[in-house]
Each structure stands twice: as structure tokens, then as C-alpha cells.
Amino acid sequence: MTSPENYKKMVEEASPNSKLAANTIKAFLIGGLVCILGELFYMLLRRLGLPEEQVRMLVPVTLIGIAVVLTALGIYDKIARHAGAGTIVPITGFANAVASPAMEFQSEGRILGTGANIFKMAGPVIVFGVGSAVVYGVVYWLLEVRF
């Protein structure tokens, strides 16, 4: 009888791998496009005469808005199927990760459905994002006090 060890090797051989090269190129291009879009908004808003501080807030808000609308229209996941990390890593990915469970769990009601599940996907990012910010803050504080 085939042992689990041998079977593991058989499974590895039989299972096709993800197309790493093609996926990396697509992620780079589409992720890059998202960044160019952000840069274009930045230039446009600056040209409209808005102060730097407001523009820095408005650019991510615009990208988040676009990502949420595309998620609601069922387009975001179709782009992401090709883009992979290219649409997950930018702020648009975070917006999608919050909007998609909010839509999915509507059927369980506003509070225990949408409310309880809205951070289902983004929760780990928030937990570890805030956690690492605390660590960074402590290190920064120590360096500042010490030196």
C-alpha cells in the first residue's frame, strides 16, 4: 500500500503549480497601475490647488471608494483573479477585504451579519498592523529617549 510519505510525492508531481512568472508579471503591472492611478489623483488634486495635507488624505479615500464600488458591482474579484497580489497589497485590497464580507453577510442582518463579519477578512491585518505599530512606536520612543 502507498505510504503517506510516498503519496505526498505523488501528489506534488500530479498537482500543477501556479504560473509563477505570469502571475508575478501581472501582479507587478496591475499593482503598478493602481499606484499610477493614485499618483495621477495626487497630481490632479494638487493642480486644483488643494493643500498637500488634504491631498494625502483624499488620494487613498478615492482609491478606497473606487475599490468598494468595483467590489459591489462584482468586478473587483474578476480583476483580482488575474492581478493576485497586485490588487491585494495596495489599499484597494484592504477596501475589498472589508466590503466583500459586508455584502456576503447581509442575509444574517445588519448587526450580527454585516456588523459581526465585516472585519472577517481584514481583521488579521488590523490586529497585526496595530500590533506592529505598537512595537515600532516603543522602539522609536526608546531610541528617542536614549539618543
Binding site: 503519496y7 498537482s15 500543477p16
Partner: protein, 343 residues
């Protein structure tokens, strides 16, 4: 009366017959390889319901209703109803059974449920505990994604080994047999319940690989018990290992049992969707509804036309839970076989 042979095979001498059957599905399923073979196609994924779970219940109810319509029977004329699905607590089956008012037995065999429900219904008929029994199952892509994976609109990538849960349901009406396969009516003549087999696959995105060892164990064990060879069957139909699992099944049967499936094998996971949908479908169809649609939509009617006369149908199920992969558990799988015969 039934007789047990070998280690695990049960012979049903009465040969309970499958007198009516129907498959229903979503638009992608209806436009695939089984185009035109569904009793009913629902173009809208929601089926007019306000949740995916309700949509799946409706789908399963539609399959049961179509089957009863074909048989020309009222629900009250049915003695027992066996059904199962993938949703928590078998809710799609239970909720759809509400409107039928037939004594109901819920089953959980994951994607093996079509074979499991037919096997148990056939045994009930053989033993005389029922004269007419309904067996059915369903799955819905959106409901399964919501429960087992990610929200529908979440922008993630699926690995090439992942399978696509079918939005489909199937139902069969079984009646007491006469001891002989009747012309135009497929019957269940043997049943082989599978053991739980686990060769350590932990990747929940590679169900085909997790289930192939169970399928090999059931096919190998059945051929041993019945002292038959692959050539004795027109088709050995597994459901649903997909392309990766089918490949592994062939290797396991050859290595461990010395059995060459040659051209007699097909898998429901490879028979539902069109090949040009490969980009999204990846390794093939899965879900209880995949083998239900292939069996009730295609195979049984081909048997009724005597294009196929002896089919060993092996439903395969990966019996993981939503939390077990996260707890590092490997995926136990089971495969239940039924020998279908026609004349």
C-alpha cells in the same frame, strides 16, 4: 434478501430500481458538457431567494419535485426521503424537505452524498422497510464559498488544484425491484460502503488528492470482493476527483491493487463544465451537486437507453470541517460505491 460478500460488498438480490430521476442546475452548469440534460435550469444564482442558503434549499426542492413529477407521484406516496448537502447541519436538505412532508433522514457524506443516499435508500427497499424512497442532494457555489472559503466578491486567487463547487441538485426515486434489471430502468444491484482513508493531505485546495486514496480503496476492495475485473464494467464513474484526483486514482489503483482503469474510468468533476472554462474551474467540478447532476442528468438516462449497462458509481467525499484544516488536521475521505445495472 441482501447478502454480504467479501469484506464489504452487499448484494441486493431484489435489485431496487431507480424509476425516476432529475437534475437541476445553474446557468454555468446548464451551459456546460451536460447542456440540455437538466430538467430545469435557473439563470439567476439566487433562484429568487434572499440568501444563498435558501437558494440551495430551493434548488434541492426543485430536483425532488421534478423527480416526483416525472414519476407522477405525490410526496405522501413516498415512504422515506434520504438527503444531504454541504451546508452546516445539512440545512439545505432539511429546509427543502419541510415542504415535502416525507419521513426524512438527513445524511452527511460531503460530495459522496448522491451515492450514499442511493445506497441507503436501496438497502431500505431491499429489506422491505419501504416501498418507495427518494434520494437526493445539492450544492450551491455561492453558499459553499461563503461557508468554507471566502466571501464571493473577495479578490483572491484560486490555486490550479482547486475545484469549483457546482450549483446543482439531483434526486432519484427508488422502488422495490423484481430481482431482474428491467428494460429501460436502471437498478441498484450492489453496494460497497467505503472506509475512511487519510493519506495525510492537508491542503483544502486539493480535495481531489485527498479523496483519490478513498476512491482507490473502494474500487480495489469492490473488485476484490466481487472477483471481477475493470473490463466487466462499462464505466467506473468517480465523483468528483477532478483532473488531479483522477490522475492520482489511476496511479494508486495500479500501484496498490494492480488494477488498470484503462478507458473505463471517468470522473464527474471532469464531465460537468466546458473545457474553455478551465481558467476559472481549475481542476474540475466538485460539491454534492456535481456527481448528482452527472448521474441524474446523464448517466441514468444513458443506462435507460442501454448505452451503458453496468456502471460502478463511486461517490467520493472529503470529510473535513471548516476548522479542521486550520487546526492542522489532514483530510479524511470516504468513497461509497453502488453498482448500477440496466438491460
Amino acid at each position: 434478501m441482501a447478502e454480504r460478500i467479501g469484506l464489504n460488498t452487499i448484494i441486493l438480490h431484489g435489485k431496487p430500481k431507480i424509476s425516476a430521476y432529475a437534475a437541476v442546475g445553474g446557468s454555468m452548469e446548464g451551459d456546460g458538457q451536460l447542456k440540455g440534460k437538466f430538467a430545469r435550469i435557473f439563470d439567476d444564482d439566487t433562484l429568487g431567494q434572499d440568501s444563498w442558503e435558501k437558494a440551495e434549499s430551493f434548488l434541492q426542492q426543485a430536483a425532488a419535485q421534478e423527480t416526483l413529477n416525472i414519476a407522477g407521484l405525490e410526496p405522501k406516496e413516498i415512504d422515506l426521503h434520504f438527503a444531504g448537502d454541504l451546508l452546516g447541519q445539512c440545512s439545505a436538505s432539511a429546509f427543502s424537505a419541510r415542504s415535502l412532508s416525507i419521513p426524512f433522514v438527513g445524511l452527511y457524506g460531503a460530495c459522496s452524498t448522491m451515492a450514499l443516499s442511493i445506497a441507503i435508500a436501496a438497502m431500505s427497499l431491499e429489506s422491505g422497510f419501504a416501498q418507495k424512497a427518494l434520494a437526493g442532494t445539492s450544492s450551491h457555489y455561492c453558499a459553499a464559498e461563503k461557508q468554507f472559503r471566502q466571501p464571493l466578491e473577495y479578490g483572491g486567487q484560486r490555486p490550479p488544484t482547486a475545484q469549483w463547487t457546482a450549483t446543482a441538485a439531483g434526486a432519484c426515486l427508488l422502488e422495490e425491484g423484481t430481482g431482474q434489471p428491467a428494460a429501460g430502468v436502471p437498478c441498484v444491484s450492489q453496494v460497497h460502503f467505503g472506509k475512511l482513508v487519510d493519506l495525510g493531505v492537508v491542503d483544502a485546495n486539493n480535495m481531489g488528492a485527498a479523496m483519490a486514496p478513498a476512491a482507490a480503496d473502494t474500487i480495489g476492495g469492490f473488485l476484490r470482493d466481487t472477483q471481477s475485473i475493470v473490463g466487466d464494467y462499462d464505466l467506473i464513474l468517480t465523483g468528483d476527483l477532478g483532473s488531479v484526483g483522477s490522475d492520482l486514482l489511476r496511479q494508486l489503483l495500479l500501484n496498490d491493487w494492480g488494477v488498470d482503469l484503462s478507458d473505463r474510468h471517468n470522473d464527474c468533476g471532469n464531465m460537468l463544465y466546458r473545457a474553455d472554462e478551465a481558467n476559472e474551474i481549475n481542476a474540475g467540478a466538485s460539491g454534492c451537486g456535481a456527481s448528482a447532476a452527472v448521474l441524474c442528468g446523464d448517466i441514468l438516462s444513458r443506462m435507460a437507453r442501454a448505452e451503458l449497462k453496468r456502471v460502478f458509481f463511486v461517490g467520493t467525499g472529503a470529510l473535513l470541517s471548516c476548522v479542521s484544516p486550520l487546526q492542522g488536521e489532514s483530510i479524511p475521505a470516504v468513497a461509497h460505491g453502488i453498482l448500477l445495472e440496466s438491460r
